[in-house]
Symmetry: C2
Subunit: 336 residues, 2 copies
């Protein structure tokens, strides 16, 4: 049994344009059985064109300078058409809000997958422009927001929802948001992976774990080992992967494609053949069950990561401090 | 009754890496009744997330320098998984072909919506790298290719097909490719509009019609009037619009969205309220039926277009000569 906590609010009407975190203890916490969607599907289904649901409105938006994807999701069957934005960028907030208005949606959440290092989030700016929007980020990020989510939480918008899955590695607080499983939810499922899993790649892991092989919980090997094979790669193979960035012009991938062709996740035969206990044990069993193999995996990943020759990110000194406070560092300084 | 000509070839096995146009008289020409899909649908359906079909594999790819979208479509239910690329770019041919290989597809067509002025097509380069691929462009373009299509033609790949619709204005030979209508075809339909219809815009019209108000058949007013309201805007409102470019980070739109929010197509109330004879008359009746109003429309569009202050396209002197010969100008010179 996995614990799920639902975030389901009445559609906001009050002005929440300042940062006013709401204690997570106010949120409804219920339990739900593990999703039945982990059952194998036909390989053919893994290349499904796109997700469909009569309820879901979905749009992928691109910010060219940082190659960032922002995602708009809404329940268009709901009378109020509640919507959320995943990973909005400050520079494209006006575009996004104009688009939301065109489509007649009511934006209720502005969500980040993690504290970005390559662009300033638009969540704070959105809150200053649209009353009632709540910002969301993971509790593990230690950043400011109105709402904090933890693994297993569900973020509801209308009759649709996103599940929260922990995918640390790129940063400690990285999470992946996955559309729900059920008759009214989009099929195939859609995973908004942030930088944890990119198309044919993954985010760098030297931001918060300089000596990554010594830090089990946030280095790429252990975490990718854990997130992909316990948290992400257990999703149905046709699940659509929507990352926070792409630098080669890809827009979407699938779990199956990344399992087959992601060069950072397919180098190790031991990893591919091992780890039989993927389901039913929760994180503790999952990590323990794979621990014996993770050293070998770590060594192979270390070789890959040490040869990446990554430059110091040009935006990090601006973006991270800003993103710790919803992108509104000036406002934070003023109110300090 | 509309005339449709089907392009349906056995999957190619011979090496067609040189430009060897196949006479269009070899193609099967049959007639088919007008698509029944023009019936009104509910407004809600116009914002559908995406198109779905158990047969169609679809991917949108982006070339950042020219902001060009390339589209990959395949019939994944067919044993050979026949695929086609719409508007491939020379610089991303290796990416595209690697992707096609990853997905286990058999590329049979490399198609252009028109002779591009902002990038060099990848169709010729693809033919040098993959034997059996045939290039396609409109007959009206006067460019070289293996196959030439005319309005009403159908391009088949497996059990799926694209319809060809004439959408001149940006260039004389611009066409839009629209996925078929039928139980096995993707729903909603998808229109690959090239530069004829962009998201909240349209391609410039000063390339081939310098004095555009005097040239009825290719200036933007008459042609957009004709193409949008007779050829494109008669498609179901939920038809997904996939343009050849986007410069603001949008990836897809719908007919309904563009009818409501495209600033170049919604300026004129006379245009919006007029033109009752949209169906059943073919081009001649359509143009004639709206001719009385087109002067007013032209004047309004002229005002918009004259204030665009468009620079001379930096790639045009390289791109157009190259794209007239499938992007292989060097090869053409050598063989001349």
């Amino acid at each position: 049994m996995l614990q799920f906590r639902f975030l389901r609010f009445p559609l906001p009407s009050s002005n929440l344009s300042t940062l006013s975190p709401i204690p997570t203890t106010n949120l409804l916490r219920i339990s739900a059985s593990r999703s039945p969607s982990s059952k194998p599907r036909s390989p053919m289904a893994s290349y499904t064109t796109s997700s469909s649901s009569p309820k879901l409105l979905f749009r992928q938006l691109f910010e060219k300078e940082s190659s960032t994807y922002t995602y708009l999701l809404a329940d268009q069957s709901h009378p109020e058409k509640p919507a959320l934005l995943v990973d909005p960028v400050d520079k494209t907030v006006d575009r996004d809000l104009s688009f939301v208005k065109d489509l007649g949606l009511k934006l209720i959440y502005a969500i980040n997958t993690h504290v970005h290092a390559d662009h300033v989030t638009g969540t704070g700016l959105i809150k200053t422009k649209v009353s009632g929007v709540r910002s969301i980020i993971s509790k593990a990020s230690n950043a400011k927001a109105d709402l904090f989510v933890e693994p297993g939480d569900k973020i509801c918008f209308g009759d649709l929802f996103l599940e929260v899955r922990a995918t640390p590695g790129h940063t400690l607080g990285c999470v992946t948001y996955v559309t729900g499983d059920g008759p009214d939810q989009p099929q195939p499922r859609m995973a908004f992976t942030g930088d944890a899993l990119l198309i044919r790649g993954c985010g760098r892991t030297d931001f918060q774990c300089k000596i990554w092989v010594e830090v089990q919980n946030c280095c790429i090997n252990q975490c990718i080992h854990r997130q992909e094979h316990e948290i992400i790669f257990t999703l149905p193979k046709d699940t659509l992967i929507y990352p926070a960035h792409d630098y080669k012009g890809f827009t979407v991938s699938t779990i199956q494609e990344e399992m087959l062709y992601n060069p950072r996740l397919t180098k190790d035969e031991v990893l591919k053949s091992g780890c039989g206990r993927r389901n039913g044990g929760g994180d503790a069993v999952a990590v323990a069950g794979c621990k014996g193999r993770s050293v070998t995996v770590a060594e192979k990943f270390k070789s890959i990561m040490e040869n990446l020759n990554l430059a110091y990110p040009k935006m990090i000194d601006v973006a991270v401090p800003a993103n710790m406070v919803c992108g509104l560092q000036d406002l934070a300084f003023k109110s300090a």
